[in-house]
């Protein structure tokens, strides 16, 4: 069943392109550090060198290899993105389904909370929280970002489930005496699976972008290298105004390539699975 579901995806040109680009970066993050065994933190006397055979992407102010940083950065940024996405997805699904199933006061309260979080700029809250934490692990950064980007998803899930709830088969399940939990897992969750997956992909983007923003403002992970941290170093050392393009172009380009490819994947899925968008 799963195969017949994803098969039409691989006939969509957009999906293939987006998927391929994403896989390339996924492999760079996973296998890059394995095959390119240069320590990204090792300082050498070859500082601020443009790309050369010994340093394919050049070096930074401390003579550290940019390509090695890039591989580790892609790995961490993807990790942060995934982690933040899982957190957002769980919170969003929980609040959205609970609202739709319980209705009444529970629904009102949860939606009020959702709307408050939705109106409040998540990056600002993230900045405020992060500023109070002296040590920020990669996981903490992902948590801070994941905690605030779920509201639009919760709202969409709720709306969708509200309409599912009025269908016959759900009524039958309720009459058959299903518990709320069984109802949620057997009747409701499957109807939002595709949408949840598409949103998951966008949450990854939110996590990656959020990390880059936090890092640039000086509130990124305090240990480890991410794409945002690379950009922060480049800005701190005035790489842009001193013309060291090899330092700030690769991390930014990677962010754009990863997030754009994921957005293309999600858009393509929408085109394939959403009958209103299907091209005649």
């Amino acid at each position: 069943m799963f195969l017949t579901m994803i098969k039409p995806l691989f006939k969509n040109k957009k999906f293939i392109i987006g998927f391929s680009i994403f896989i390339i970066f996924l492999l760079m993050g996973f296998l890059g550090p394995v095959f390119y065994r240069v320590d990204p933190t090792e300082m050498t006397w070859d500082y601020e060198q443009p790309p050369s055979p010994s340093h394919p992407l050049g070096t930074d102010t401390y003579g550290r290899d940019i390509l090695a940083q890039l591989f580790h950065g892609i790995r961490s940024s993807l990790y942060i993105g995934f982690l933040a996405a899982i957190i957002s997805l769980v919170i969003g699904t929980f609040i959205g389904t609970l609202s739709a199933v319980k209705r009444g006061l529970v629904d009102d309260t949860l939606m009020a909370v959702t709307n408050i979080v939705l109106t409040t700029p998540s990056i600002l809250i993230a900045i405020l929280i992060a500023s109070y934490l002296k040590v920020r692990s990669i996981e903490i950064v992902a948590l801070i970002l994941g905690l605030f980007q779920w509201p639009w998803f919760a709202r969409a899930i709720r709306a969708q489930l509200m309409s599912v709830m009025s269908r016959e088969y759900v009524n039958l399940s309720i009459m058959a005496g299903y518990s709320d939990l069984r109802l949620i897992f057997e009747d409701l969750i499957p109807t939002i699976a595709t949408y949840a997956f598409m949103s998951f992909v966008l949450f990854i983007n939110g996590g990656i972008m959020g990390e880059a923003g936090l890092s640039l403002i000086g509130l990124g992970p305090t240990r480890g290298i991410s794409l945002g941290i690379m950009l922060q170093w480049a800005v701190l050392m005035e790489a842009v105004r001193r013309g060291m393009w090899w330092w700030f172009v690769p991390p930014g380009l990677s962010i754009v390539a990863i997030t754009a490819s994921l957005l293309v994947i999600s858009t393509a899925m929408d085109e394939v699975f959403n009958p209103r968008l299907r091209e005649e």
Binding site: N115, L124, L128, L216, V235, V256, A260
Partner: protein, 338 residues
């Protein structure tokens, strides 16, 4: 013109935003008290660093700080005092720039941020929506494909990174435009023509980096919206009765624009976040740059102050968008719905 339903809608939004503002300031209140490691003691140890150069100031600052945080009083009194002050606009005293008030530091930088973010957001919104509508109107032509592909990529470029690319290309490589600041160093902002031209030159790159990368998202959203609307019953019906394409499109365009107005309200936060970081990249003397300086010195009263002000402005902007929405949406204006 202002029907009862419009007034009701506006009032409801106003109450909601007020509650949201209280919640946000509550977070500001709770955070330093809830996070382990007690940031207040961090502030004090920060103070002692400053103190080595100026021991007189530290004692005054410390006393001030204890008073402002209301330490020693029960927490609910602290809270009431804090919210009251926040609503009055009293945000405390900066540590780094002691004894200057946080408010006095923030107020002068706000215009720079507004001047950058408002026009950029509006221009991006108009251009993006027009492009998106055009793409949907010419669905499946090369225009559509070009706009969609371009928008998908461009919408994912962080403003600040596009800013870096622009600085490098137009500033460093070509030398056409200044690479940092909002005006040349050494000039004093005044109302002269020369200063205006100087500021304008500095303005182009940060402005363009926000406009270009913000445009993509609007184009994608609008394209989708118009495609949906074109498939709706009224659009099909108009086609059957032989209405001209252009006229149908005008109706469709206006209907598709409504959700984009709501979208504008929802996107304000992330636009602001991106713009703040863009300011840092450009050393542009706005709120983001001030926040950045406050963060590097861990000047908590200033960080909190900037946060409260920014959040309040986002809510205010939200309210303005809601207001505009109530004016242009006939369902609210005339009050057909509820």
């Amino acid at each position: 013109m202002a029907s009862r339903s419009a007034v009701k809608y506006i009032l409801r939004r106003l109450i909601f935003l007020f509650i949201t503002y209280v919640v946000a300031t509550t977070i500001v209140f709770i955070l330093p008290r809830a996070i382990p490691g007690n940031p207040l003691s961090q502030i004090l140890s920060n103070l002692s660093r400053v103190a080595q150069s100026n021991p007189e100031a530290i004692r005054a600052a410390e006393k001030n700080l204890m008073e402002e945080f209301g330490l020693g009083k029960p927490w609910y009194l602290q809270y009431v005092e804090f919210i009251g002050k926040a609503l009055k606009g009293d945000l405390g005293t900066s540590i780094t720039y002691y004894p200057r008030k946080v408010m006095d530091l923030i107020v002068p930088v706000i215009p720079w941020t507004l001047v950058l973010i408002l026009p950029a957001t509006i221009v991006a919104w108009i251009l993006g929506n027009s492009l998106g509508a055009l793409a949907a109107y010419r669905r499946n032509t090369w225009i559509d494909k070009g706009v969609l592909t371009g928008s998908l990529v461009v919408s994912q470029i962080p403003y600040y990174w596009l800013g870096m690319i622009f600085i490098f290309f137009f500033g460093v490589k070509l030398g056409w435009l200044p690479v940092q600041g909002a005006y040349s160093q050494g000039t004093i902002p005044d109302l002269s023509w020369a200063f205006f031209m100087d500021a304008l030159k500095h303005y182009i790159l940060p402005f363009l980096s926000i406009v270009v990368s913000a445009m993509g998202g609007w184009a994608i959203g609008m394209r989708l919206m118009v495609i949906y609307e074109l498939g709706s019953d009224y659009a099909n019906f108009s086609e059957y009765i032989g209405m001209k394409d252009k006229r149908i499109f005008r109706y469709v365009f206006r209907n598709s624009l409504l959700p984009q107005v709501t979208g504008l309200a929802l996107s304000l936060g992330s636009v602001l976040g991106g713009a703040l970081i863009t300011e840092i990249v450009f050393n542009y003397p706005g709120t983001g740059y001030l926040l950045f300086k406050a963060l590097t010195t861990l000047d908590y009263p200033l960080i909190q102050g900037v946060f409260v002000i920014l959040i309040a402005s986002v809510y205010l902007a939200n309210f303005i968008v809601d207001f505009v929405y109530a004016l242009i949406d006939p369902r609210i204006r005339i009050g057909q719905e509820e």
